[in-house]
C-alpha cells in the first residue's frame, strides 16, 4: 500500500493540489500583515472570481484564458470595492475591529446568497470536465492541470516577493505593515498602500480560484470553507510571516490529501476544522523557526478585538 511509487504519486498530487491553498493563504496573510484586517471578505473575492470564470467559460463557452482574466477581474474588482466602500470608510470612522469583522463576514455571506440566487446551489466547475489528461513521468502520473498550477503558483509567489522586495509600492507596503503612522510621517499615503495590498490579494485570489475551480466543484458557500484553511495556515505559519504561511499551506495541503489513506473520505472535510483548532490551541503565535527570513524585522501585528480603533 505504501510502496514508493504510490507515495511519490500521493505527494505529487498533494503538492499540486495545495498550490491553490498556498495562494489563498498568502492573499489572506498579506492583507492581515499590511492592512491589519482579518479579511473574511476574501471569501467574497473568491466566490466572485470563480463565478466570473464560470460564466465566461462554463456558461458562455468562452476560451480558458478569457475565463482566467474574468477570474482576476472579478476578484480584483471586489477587492477594490471592498477597500474603497467598506474598509476605508470604516477605518476613517475608527470602527472597532468587531465592526470590521462583522462587515467582512456579512459581505461574504451576502455575495454567497446573491450567487445562490443567480446561479443556484448546484456545484459548478469552470471547465466541463474535471479530469485532465495524464502523462507518466517515471512512476508518477502528472496531469495537464498539475504543471501549469505548480508553475503559475511558483511564478506568482516569486512575483509577490519580488514586488515586496524591489518595487517602490512593495517596500511601502512593508513600511506600512511595520508602522503605519511612521510610514505616513515619511510621506507614504496609507490609503493607497491599503488599496494596492487589496489589489495584490485580489490577483492572488483570482489566480487561485481559477486553478481551484478548474479542478474541483465549487458551490456558493465553498469559499468560506476554503478561507478557513487559509486562516489555519496563516495562524500556524505565524501571523505576519508570509513565507511561513506559504510553507504551512503546502504542508496542510499534503496532510489533508494523504489523510485519505488513514481516515474515511467523509471525515476528510472535518480535518480542516482540526487544523483550525490545532492552530488556535497549540500554535496561536505560529510555529517559531530559528530564522524568519521573509518576516525580517517586521513585527507580528498584534490585533485585539477588544481594542478600539486601528488595533
Amino acid at each position: 500500500m505504501f510502496s514508493l511509487p504510490i507515495l511519490a504519486q500521493i505527494l505529487w498530487t498533494s503538492l499540486a493540489t495545495s498550490t491553490c491553498f498556498v495562494l489563498f493563504a498568502l492573499a489572506f496573510a498579506l492583507v492581515l500583515k499590511v492592512n491589519r484586517i482579518f479579511n473574511f471578505a476574501q471569501a467574497a473575492m473568491m466566490t466572485v472570481g470563480f463565478y466570473a470564470a464560470y460564466t465566461v467559460v462554463g456558461l458562455a463557452d468562452g476560451p480558458g484564458w478569457l475565463g482566467f482574466l474574468a477570474a482576476l477581474l472579478g476578484s480584483v474588482g471586489v477587492a477594490v470595492l471592498l477597500e474603497i466602500f467598506g474598509f476605508r470608510p470604516l477605518r476613517k470612522r475608527r470602527a472597532s475591529s468587531m465592526f470590521v469583522f462583522i462587515f467582512a463576514l456579512v459581505i461574504s455571506e451576502l455575495i454567497s446568497y446573491v450567487i445562490m440566487l443567480v446561479y443556484g446551489t448546484w456545484p459548478a466547475t469552470i471547465f466541463p470536465s474535471l479530469f485532465w489528461p495524464v502523462t507518466l513521468v517515471g512512476p508518477v502520473a502528472v496531469s495537464q492541470w498539475d504543471v501549469p498550477a505548480v508553475v503559475s503558483t511558483i511564478a506568482a509567489i516569486a512575483a509577490l516577493f519580488a514586488f515586496l522586495q524591489f518595487s517602490r509600492a512593495g517596500q511601502f507596503m512593508t513600511a506600512v505593515a511595520d508602522n503605519p503612522d511612521l510610514a505616513e510621517f515619511y510621506g507614504i499615503t496609507k490609503d493607497r498602500i491599503y488599496l494596492i495590498t487589496m489589489i495584490v490579494a485580489g490577483l492572488l485570489t483570482g489566480l487561485a480560484m481559477f486553478l481551484y475551480g478548474s479542478r474541483a466543484q465549487v458551490q456558493p458557500m465553498s469559499s468560506i470553507d476554503l478561507l478557513l484553511f487559509a486562516i489555519a495556515a496563516t495562524i500556524i505559519g505565524g501571523i505576519g510571516n508570509l513565507g511561513g504561511t506559504a510553507i504551512t499551506a503546502v504542508v496542510l495541503g499534503i496532510v489533508q490529501n494523504t489523510s485519505v489513506l488513514f481516515i474515511p473520505s467523509e471525515w476528510q472535510g472535518f480535518l480542516l476544522y482540526v487544523f483550525l483548532f490545532t492552530a488556535i490551541v497549540f500554535f496561536p503565535k505560529g510555529i517559531r523557526l530559528p530564522e524568519r527570513r521573509l518576516a525580517r524585522s517586521t513585527p507580528t501585528p498584534t490585533i485585539n478585538a477588544d481594542d478600539s480603533g486601528e488595533a
Partner: protein, 298 residues
C-alpha cells in the same frame, strides 16, 4: 391557529436567541457568530437524551442548555486565552466543524436530520401550553439578562469592555468574566434549542448553519446592540419579515437566498447608516468609545 402558535413559539425562541446573543457580542463585546451551534447542541442533546435515554423532556431541555454551556466554555477557553480575534475564527470553525460532525454521525440522524423527538406539553395540555412555556422562558431570559446588565455585574462588564487594562488593574479577572458571559449566553441558546426540538420534533444540521448566524446578527444589529429591547424588536420584526415573504409563494431555491440577502443587506445598511440600531442603547452602554462617534456622524 396551529400556524399562529408556531409563529409565536418561533418569535419567543428568537427573542431568547437574540437577547442572549446581544449579551455575548453587545454587552460582553465578544465577537462570535457561533450562537446557532449552541442552539443546535442544545436541540440535539435534549432530543437525544429524551428520545434515546428516556430522560424526562423538561430535564432534557435543561440538560441541553447545560451541555451547550459546557461546549461554549471549551471554545472560549481555547480561543480567548490568545485574543478576541481568535474567538471569532474559532467560533466559525466550531460552528461548521460541529455541524460537519453531526452530518457524519449516524446516531444524530446525519444530514437527513433527527426525527421522532418526544413532544412536550402539546399532547397533554395543547399547543397553547407550549406557547405559554416558550413565551415564559423568553420573558425570564430577557428579565434575567436585563437584571445582570443593569446591575453591579453589568457595570463591571461595561468597564471591562471599555478598558480591559484598567479593569484588570483594579484586580478584576477579565478572562473569567468573558467566559462567564459567553457561557451564560450560549447556555440560554442551548435552552432555546431544547424548546425548539420538542415542539417541532425534527431537527437537521441545515437549520443551524450560517444563515442562522446572519439572521441572529441582523436581529441584534438592526434591533440595537447593547439595548434590552433592541434585540427583542429585531427578533420579532425579522421573524415576521420572512413569514411575509413566504406568502409570496416562491420556490425554496429562491426563498432561502432571498432571506439571506435580506438579512445580510439589513446588517450592512444599519452598520453604515444607523449603527445604533432601531433602539439605541442607554448612555452607559454606549460607552465612551467609537460607537458614540459613529452615532454622531451617521
Amino acid at each position: 391557529m396551529e400556524y399562529f402558535y408556531t409563529i409565536v413559539i418561533l418569535m419567543a425562541l428568537y427573542v431568547i436567541l437574540a437577547a442572549s446573543f446581544n449579551f455575548v457580542i453587545g454587552y460582553g463585546g465578544l465577537v462570535s457568530i457561533a450562537h446557532p451551534v449552541f442552539y443546535a447542541i442544545g436541540a440535539y442533546a435534549s432530543a437525544l437524551l429524551a428520545r434515546d435515554v428516556g430522560v424526562p423532556v423538561i430535564l432534557a431541555i435543561v440538560a441541553g442548555g447545560l451541555i451547550a454551556l459546557l461546549a461554549s466554555v471549551a471554545l472560549a477557553l481555547s480561543s480567548l486565552r490568545v485574543s478576541g480575534d481568535y474567538l471569532l475564527i474559532g467560533s466559525i470553525g466550531f460552528q461548521l466543524g460541529t455541524l460537519e460532525v453531526i452530518k457524519n454521525l449516524h446516531w444524530t440522524g446525519g444530514a437527513g436530520g433527527l426525527s421522532n423527538i418526544p413532544s412536550f406539553l402539546t399532547q397533554t395540555l395543547g399547543p397553547q401550553a407550549y406557547v405559554a412555556f416558550a413565551v415564559a422562558v423568553a420573558v425570564c431570559t430577557v428579565l434575567l439578562l436585563r437584571w445582570i446588565a443593569h446591575g453591579p455585574y453589568g457595570r463591571a462588564m461595561s468597564a471591562m469592555r471599555d478598558d480591559e487594562l484598567a479593569f484588570a488593574a483594579l484586580g478584576r479577572n477579565a478572562m473569567v468574566m468573558k467566559i462567564t458571559i459567553f457561557a451564560l449566553g450560549s447556555g440560554l441558546a442551548g435552552l432555546a434549542g431544547g424548546i425548539y426540538a420538542h415542539y417541532f420534533r425534527f431537527i437537521a444540521p441545515g437549520q443551524f448553519d450560517l444563515l442562522q448566524s446572519s439572521a441572529l446578527l441582523t436581529m441584534v444589529v438592526v434591533g440595537g446592540l447593547r439595548s434590552t429591547w433592541g434585540p427583542i424588536v429585531g427578533a420579532i420584526a425579522l421573524e415576521a419579515l420572512p413569514q411575509a415573504i413566504t406568502f409570496i409563494n416562491l420556490p425554496p431555491s429562491v426563498l432561502g437566498p432571498l432571506q439571506g440577502i435580506l438579512f445580510t443587506s439589513l446588517v450592512l445598511i444599519f452598520m453604515f447608516v444607523r449603527p445604533q440600531g432601531l433602539i439605541a442603547a442607554s448612555a452607559r452602554w454606549r460607552g465612551r468609545q467609537e460607537e458614540v462617534r459613529d452615532a454622531n456622524r451617521a
